[in-house]
Subunit: 402 residues, 2 copies
């Protein structure tokens, strides 16, 4: 009759974000949706590219027999081949369909990966700030998430990662372009990380996996996102079409592994087994067929570039400091020094206090503590540019009273 | 570098079924697909109903803004309302959208349910024979599957279930119409089970959940599948459109709970949290919108009824005994007595020996040990009726040599 204790506890601790979400909805009801500057969610408002619509309509009309039925749990063989070609180019390797498993979005892919590689008590190292869902994604499979800080510029702290590595380390998990910082890790840092992992393997006899969560790979601003599969033999990348094709609700993505990965058969069979038994069974059939035809398409990144520029102009005007995003669509901002202290802030983090303050001006964001980094806040700019521009006055008033 | 030990072990133990699958494919390559009588898989070859195609094309052409993006993790509110209406009729209750969570098929739904209700070490009671994926679905969340035998006619053994109940019991899991037996549990047995659970709650202080996995509810032959949500307050049903609309590859289904369920908020919030954090995030967006419009549609069950009659005629001819299917599309058959013993059978179960023997005549099925019931075999008849009829000669020859 009572639910599991761990879930009951989780519901308690996530109730803050739920409360924020509900308060946001209440604000929209009270003042009208267009009056609220909602920078809280990473739900792209940019439509899928026109090529998506063309393929979608064609496949619907075609009505091919059996096209909505089961296929092998790893995905349609021809879809896996098409994805492998694209991933080979992006990652400067030569892989084929046998290196690919189709996944139910990056979230589904990451769960399949951690189930496959983590023994109970194994550790997964991640750099703060990070997407907080990594906590349940690892805990689901008995693994422990080890959080190390990034450098001041939000690049990887290779030394700190090195100190966290041990024979308990199943994987290092990175996310580039990064949510929430927008950072793209440079090629030399990836190389340094790879070298570190190779050394760890020599010292401990266990070569950790490098798990790269990269749903934002296609959303980068005049910067090359370096290849990962060619950088290290034990790399497992997880990608999705949630952002690159704006298909976040359709749950479609893939897992790809390095061509030289050790125990390839075990890894691939394990990923397929985990995909099946976690209840994904397979990635959604129709979307597999659609994305296989769209390996050369993505949403118009210039839209996000314009929004980024519009938003940084707003923040510059009120002198809020931020990390300049090289990719993704988030602005990670330092909480400005409070000049007019408020007794209501007692006992809460400065980022929560700032988020609460902004809400009075109908500006919604997420406190950095929601990413393991207090003193910072995240604004998502995957929303209409007019709303971004219109927020300038609200930001100005909010900062005058802060 | 090595994968998780539990996964490595699982790959070893599931290799028998993989081997069978590979052997089946090899047979098809050698003799041609149409020469092999493949009754091994529950992958419906019946197309989705015409109404599906109409809605599918219309939604594709409509190209509604934002229609592929995130929605609340529990599903679109209007979709949940539509499903609640249909479930209310089927289960003789009055529930609304707040009692529904959209799921990525029944497999996804069951994982979300067990994650939500099971503490580590909790027990889930199931009746043998059963769909073997229930083992990982419960083990994923630290629960222990307790297997009790059914009665000789494959109905629930209420007494045996009663003896297995304890304060450790999180749930009793039933599946009706049943895979592999085709049994539909009668209303009085459901009532007896409900009464048993109420008594267990009085004795132990913990009212177990009744989890009903019912993807075959719509595939029943002139028999009413009794309502579950009205039978017991702590019922959680999991349904899918894999069979009723032949959408097995699209991963769409739902979870529904009884109107009087205790701790309703915890259960629903837990189901939504589990759906999110297991990596499903939400059931695929497009398919949610499609099935909401098709609550009055299902595949033509008479097709399966004809196949059942054709298949039982084949089996009657060679006097293979079977449980008469009241629903679903499987024939669960007793392994006939062997008249011509073969030394190759030493050390393997009689059902495996029979399956191996049938393979020589290009007939593929699944041994009952794959469902926890040795001495029986399962044939799936969700394939073309001509193949079923054409198998008569192969069955005759196989039985002459058995």
């Amino acid at each position: 009759m009572p639910i599991a204790k761990s879930i009951k506890n989780a519901l308690g601790s996530s109730s803050m974000i739920r409360k924020m979400f509900e308060e946001g909805n209440a604000l929209k009801k009270q003042y009208g949706t267009e009056k609220v500057f909602d920078f809280s969610l990473g739900n792209p408002d940019v439509d899928p590219p026109p090529a998506f619509h063309d393929v979608f309509v064609r496949l619907a009309q075609e009505n091919k027999k059996g096209s909505h039925g089961y296929m092998p749990n790893g995905g349609y063989p021809d879809v896996r081949e098409a994805i492998a070609k694209k991933a080979s180019l992006e990652h400067e390797v030569s892989i084929d369909g046998s290196h690919i498993v189709m996944a139910s979005g990056a979230a589904g892919g990451l769960n399949a990966v951690f189930k496959t590689i983590c023994n109970p008590g194994d550790e997964v190292i991640v750099t703060r700030p990070f997407f907080m869902e990594y906590r349940p994604y690892t805990a689901n499979h008995g693994a422990k998430l080890i959080e190390v800080d990034s450098l001041a510029d939000f690049n990887l702290d290779i030394k700190a990662i090195g100190e966290a590595l041990s024979s308990q380390t199943a994987a290092v998990l990175i996310n580039s372009p990064n949510n929430p910082t927008g950072k793209v890790y440079p090629k030399q840092d990836i190389a340094a990380l790879a070298q570190l992992l190779v050394e760890c393997g020599k010292n401990t006899g266990r070569l950790p996996y490098l798990v790269s969560d990269e749903p934002y790979r296609e959303i980068a601003y005049n910067i090359h996102v370096p290849p990962l599969l060619s950088a290290y033999s034990e790399t497992i990348i997880v990608n999705s079409y949630s952002k690159s094709l704006s298909l976040s609700g359709e749950r479609i993505g893939y897992i790809a592994v390095s061509p030289d990965i050790a125990e390839k058969d075990d890894v691939m069979n394990g990923l397929i087994y985990s995909t099946r038994t976690l209840g994904f069974v397979n990635a959604p059939a129709l979307m597999q067929r659609i994305v296989a035809e769209l390996t050369d398409s993505s949403v118009d990144v210039s839209i996000y570039a314009h929004r980024r520029d519009a938003f940084t102009a707003v923040l510059d005007e009120v002198t809020i400091e931020y990390a300049v995003p090289e990719g993704a669509f988030y602005l990670f901002c330092k909480v400005p020094e409070r000049k007019k202290p408020d007794s209501a802030d007692a006992g809460i983090s400065p980022d929560m206090a700032f988020i609460n303050h902004l809400k009075k001006y109908l500006i919604l964001g997420v406190p950095g503590s929601g990413f393991g980094k207090t003193g910072w806040v995240r604004f998502a700019y995957c929303i209409n540019e007019n709303i971004i521009r219109a927020s300038a006055l609200a930001f100005k008033q909010a900062m005058e009273d802060w």
